[in-house]
């Protein structure tokens, strides 16, 4: 509670999960977004796997503040089966690939497929081509990214966590989309939205139910 600020009452929480192969810059992207106004040598932190930042969208009427709660996931293949535990109930999902690795785009495609099959259909998915500062090493063209995003009807951005290109734009636009699609809502509607995002208590751990049956 100590992190509360006087404006907190109007903050709308939005859970954003970040998916993608390891080393594509998932956590750097989140860090760049969250640490924007921080002094450069701000090193001490409690890790980069859970981060949050509130952003005011002043051109909305009425103006709203979204509190992005960013959940990082482990990208290694062997931990892939654990991902559903992280993206469950997420308002948004960033599927990140590295523009200098064609392979990471293929991984991103399979993440998109998985989200289509398993995630809440309301979850807003953003395809993110990171490391766009490394133009000379580019293996994935902007067109390829755009085509995939269009085919899957996703938001699309090329970003650079290193120099900050498009990072804020990405989150601002994601926030607006979440509001306009009613995935998150301000004021009185919020509680109903929150409960909509959640599964009923009985179905919260379907996985462990399955295990139980297998174990008999």
């Amino acid at each position: 509670m100590a992190s509360a600020s006087p404006t907190r009452a109007k903050d709308i929480p939005a859970k954003i999960v970040v998916l993608g192969e390891s080393a594509v810059g998932k956590s750097s992207l989140a860090l760049r977004f969250v640490r924007r106004d921080f002094i450069p040598n701000q090193e001490a932190t409690i890790g980069a796997s859970f981060l949050s930042r509130s952003v005011s969208l002043v051109d909305e009427s009425p103006p709203v503040t979204i509190k992005f709660e960013i959940w990082d996931t482990a990208g290694q293949e062997r931990y892939r089966a654990l991902a559903p535990m992280y993206y469950r109930g997420a308002a948004g999902a960033l599927v990140v690939y590295d523009i200098t690795s064609a392979d990471s785009l293929r991984k991103a495609e399979s993440w998109i497929g998985e989200l289509r099959r398993n995630a809440d259909p309301q979850t807003v998915v953003v395809l993110v081509g990171n490391k766009c500062d490394l133009e000379s090493m580019r293996q994935v063209s902007i067109q390829q990214g755009q085509d995939l995003a269009e085919k899957e009807e996703l938001l699309f951005y090329e970003t650079s966590a290193k120099d900050g290109t498009n990072v804020d734009a990405l989150f601002t636009n994601l926030g607006k989309t979440l509001l306009s699609r009613g995935v998150i809502a301000s004021g009185v509607d919020r509680r109903s939205t929150m409960s909509r995002n959640l599964q009923p208590p009985g179905s919260r751990t379907p996985k462990s139910e399955q295990q139980k049956r297998c174990d008999c």
Binding site: K15, E43, I46, D72, Q76, M85, Y86, P201, G202, C216
Partner: protein, 521 residues
């Protein structure tokens, strides 16, 4: 349920001198566990499932100890909040006091870090990294073999001198004073509103909800322990919570909080969280023992627990390289983490508290890594100072050689934290994990989506991986390098860098004793 089941428990022979009973002297065994100092009467061994233990006649939790002082070379005393001072005589008084001091400090550091918000924590970490705070040490080596000589020779006790006492450093001093005043006010405002809501509920102000809570509790307590469903209990609590939140939001009793608190009152997320805490305290806590028994009776969970224990033991045997953990993290001292992980196995009174503990576990991982990098930098700095001094007679001009940039942020993403978590969880050999998982995941507030629930998910996914990650298949698929490496193992706790803190020294230096190879590789 003593703490002696885990960790590094030390026992010392002492004579306790009771100041209220005409300095009555009693021979005692002083036991230092991971969380408390215990006075034990010799010859009162009680059998437990593990090794036999002496019965503790008095337990002084570290959190209650405000000061440890030594007098001369063979006397020390412990000041306990809301209690009297305990005086002891022992041959190795300095060593004992040093050990208690160190553990109390560690406990307080952890408590402050857990309590703090992200900003406070980062402030604490910074000063920790600068060396202003002491690094808790939990190496498994025998304290009887170390420390003493160094302390005594470096600072021979001048016998009739006034007792050199050291205050137990608490972070709430200079560090927290730096805390933004406005923020503190908000924090206190939230706390007092929270407290007020608790009091109002207990005082029967929200009569509908509190009556329903009492009825619910009574109904569950009448049930057969074998047929209690945690799922049903949670959905009953959810229903109750909804009406409690409505009752709170429509109540006018909270009008006395003005300004800021008014806003808080309208913040249904905050109210909902407090309502959940209230109901957890009033329904789950009184039934805790009962709920736990009912989980232990569930044969499917018992089966899963066996599977977990089996897999966890297999995984714990693996080389650290097989987890995909970055090299820079391999050789780190993880005693603090495994210690806090072991406490997961004892269910706390409410799921919220258990989730707070899981955040604590995650923070202790980060803290350990931060501390390690600080030590590395310190060592480099010292080496360069020594090198310079040996090359020229001129003293090093700038003492600020040190804070060279180290980019830790990049190394602490989920790509690193999850493998590390799985590795450490299996190493820690936490008991009852499956039951705790069931208890905390089924009974915690399902609408929570903040940091707490992130670290709950990390825990749940690590357990899931250990249960179903098919450990045999992974170990077959291990890299050729790992297969070649000889299985040279050292216990996790005997980490690469051990640190000693000089009790007598006001400016307590962190001293790097050794820093060699990694844990297992």
């Amino acid at each position: 349920m003593t703490d002696c089941d885990y960790g590094h428990v030390l026992e010392f022979e002492v004579v306790k001198e009771h100041h209220r009973m005409g300095w009555l002297s009693q021979t005692r065994i002083l036991r230092i566990t991971e969380s408390a100092v215990e006075n034990c009467k010799p010859g009162t061994e009680i059998r437990t499932s593990g090794p036999s233990l002496l019965k503790a006649t008095k337990r002084l939790p570290f959190t209650s100890i405000s000061r440890v002082a030594v007098n001369g070379s063979n006397k020390f005393c412990i000041r306990v909040v809301n209690d009297h001072i305990y005086f002891y005589t022992a041959q190795n008084a300095l060593e004992i006091a040093h050990e208690i001091q160190k553990r109390v400090t560690a406990e307080k550091i952890v408590a402050d870090i857990v309590k703090g918000s992200t900003e406070d924590t980062s402030m604490l970490m910074k000063s920790f990294c600068k060396g202003d705070l002491q690094l808790p040490e939990y190496s498994g080596d025998n304290p009887r073999k170390r420390g003493m000589t160094r302390i005594q020779t470096s600072r021979p006790p001048t016998s009739p001198s006034p007792s050199p006492s050291t205050n137990v450093p608490s972070m709430s001093g200079s560090e927290l004073k730096l805390m933004n005043a406005a923020k503190e006010q908000v924090y206190l405002g939230t706390l007092s509103l929270r407290l007020e809501l608790f009091k109002a509920f207990r005082g029967g102000y929200f009569s509908d909800a509190s009556n329903s809570a009492k009825k619910l509790l009574a109904a569950y307590q009448d049930e057969d322990v074998a047929f209690v469903s945690v799922n049903a209990l949670r959905s009953d609590i959810d229903t109750l919570k909804e009406s409690l939140v409505d009752e709170i939001l429509s109540s006018r009793s909270l009008k006395k909080f003005d300004g800021l608190e008014e806003e808080m009152k309208e913040d249904d997320e905050f109210v909902s969280r407090v309502a959940d805490d209230i109901l957890q305290e009033d329904i789950i806590k009184p039934m805790n023992e009962f709920l736990w028994q009912s989980l232990l009776l569930q044969s499917d969970l018992v089966g899963l627990q066996h599977q977990y224990d089996r897999n966890s033991a297999i995984i714990a045997q693996r080389q650290v390289t097989e987890f995909g953990i970055t090299d820079s993290l391999v050789s780190i001292h993880f005693g603090l983490v495994t210690r806090s992980m072991q406490a997961i196995g004892q269910p706390l009174t409410t799921p919220t508290k258990q989730m707070d503990h899981l955040v604590h576990v995650a923070k202790s991982i980060v803290l350990t890594i931060e501390a390690n990098s600080k030590l590395e930098i310190e060592k480099k700095r010292r080496d360069s100072v020594i090198a310079k001094a040996s090359h020229s007679q001129t003293p090093p001009s700038s003492p600020n050689l040190a804070p060279e940039k180290h980019n830790l942020n990049a190394t602490l993403s989920a790509d690193d934290v999850l493998p590390l978590y799985i590795y450490l969880l299996s190493k820690a050999g936490v008991p009852n994990v499956v039951f705790v998982r069931e208890w905390v995941s089924k009974l915690s507030d399902p609408s929570e989506c903040s940091e707490r629930s992130y670290y709950l998910t990390v825990f749940l996914s690590a357990v899931e991986y250990i249960l179903n990650g098919n450990p045999d298949a992974v170990s077959l698929a291990k890299s050729p390098d790992a297969a070649k490496a000889p299985p040279q193992r050292r216990p996790l706790d005997s980490a690469c860098s051990s640190v000693s803190i000089d009790l007598d020294d006001e400016n307590s230096n962190i001293e790097v004793c050794s820093s060699s190879s990694g844990i297992e590789v």
